[in-house]
């Protein structure tokens, strides 16, 4: 197995774990109403979006500029 494949697998597994954690935290954060809580909700949502992008890259749906 070449280095690229190992990196892809690590990225995929990591993205699933971190994305799930981000979405779970977002669900728990959702009822809170403070200003910092609302900012945290936006940040966690964008974090989950970042994990989705990494999953698409690791599964070769997105190929990158190379």
């Amino acid at each position: 197995m070449d280095a690229g494949s190992i990196e892809r697998i690590i990225a995929l597994v990591g993205a699933i774990v971190v994305g799930t954690a981000a979405l779970w935290s977002l669900k728990l954060e959702w009822p809170k109403t403070g200003l910092d809580d609302n900012v945290a909700k936006i940040m966690l949502g964008l974090l989950a979006l970042g994990c989705c992008i990494v999953i698409l890259v690791a599964t070769r749906v997105l190929h990158g500029i190379a």
């Binding site: 990591g14 971190v18 940040m43 970042g50 990494v54 890259v57 990158g64």
Partner: protein, 198 residues
């Protein structure tokens, strides 16, 4: 002149905390504008080039950047868990989550150093092409923010261990958490634009 310790009651603290929070959010917005100006410069240079990346230039490794991204996103999650642990008075857990965040942030910087080394070996330098200069400018600016963020986290962890923050008064921790999330979210944009978008 005698010095007086200023002790705020809860109502005064809440008001001051809201002002500080708003000020910190304005700081993050101003930082966002700095990143936006760099990103739009990159997009302009990219749209002006007939081929991207320019011929003869080796672009950065996508999958290595993917692993590095997950390291940074993971640190965002651990930072969130650290804050929740602190709010629920679980100080030991807070300590370990903060240590994990600092470690992951440092790993991201290490990964970026390896990426820079690989690019330099491929002769993709700051000075050799417009791709190199815009890539190193954007990722360097972000890496600098990550470095400042790691220092910020070390300082607030030290302050927490010395008892500066209590369960009801912890603005420094909130600021560190927001800054770290900001650095994470900026990387979502940079990863998409620099590595993924064809």
């Amino acid at each position: 002149m005698a010095s007086h310790a200023v002790t705020l009651n809860d109502a005064q603290y809440e008001e001051q905390r809201d002002h500080r929070l708003l000020g910190f959010l304005f700081f993050l917005i101003s930082d966002c504008i700095i990143f936006s100006s760099f990103i739009f410069t990159y997009l302009y240079l990219r749209s002006a080039a007939p081929v991207w990346p320019p011929p003869g230039v080796t672009p950065a490794d996508l999958y290595m950047a993917g692993v590095n991204s997950i390291v940074l996103f993971g640190s965002g999650a651990t930072m969130h868990f650290a804050m929740e642990s602190f709010k629920h008075d679980k100080h030991l857990r807070f300590y370990w989550w903060m240590m994990a965040t600092i470690l992951l942030g440092s790993m991201f910087l290490g990964g970026q150093a390896i990426e820079y080394t690989n690019l330099i070996h491929e002769n993709t330098l700051w000075t050799t092409s417009i791709y190199g200069s815009s890539f190193f400018s954007l990722t360097g600016l972000h890496g600098f923010h990550v470095f400042i963020g790691v220092c910020f986290l070390v300082v607030v962890l030290n302050q927490t261990l010395s008892g500066t923050y209590t369960k009801t008064r912890y603005f420094g921790l909130t600021a560190a958490s927001l800054y770290w999330h900001f650095v994470d979210v900026i990387w979502v944009a940079l990863f998409s634009i620099l590595y993924v978008w064809r």
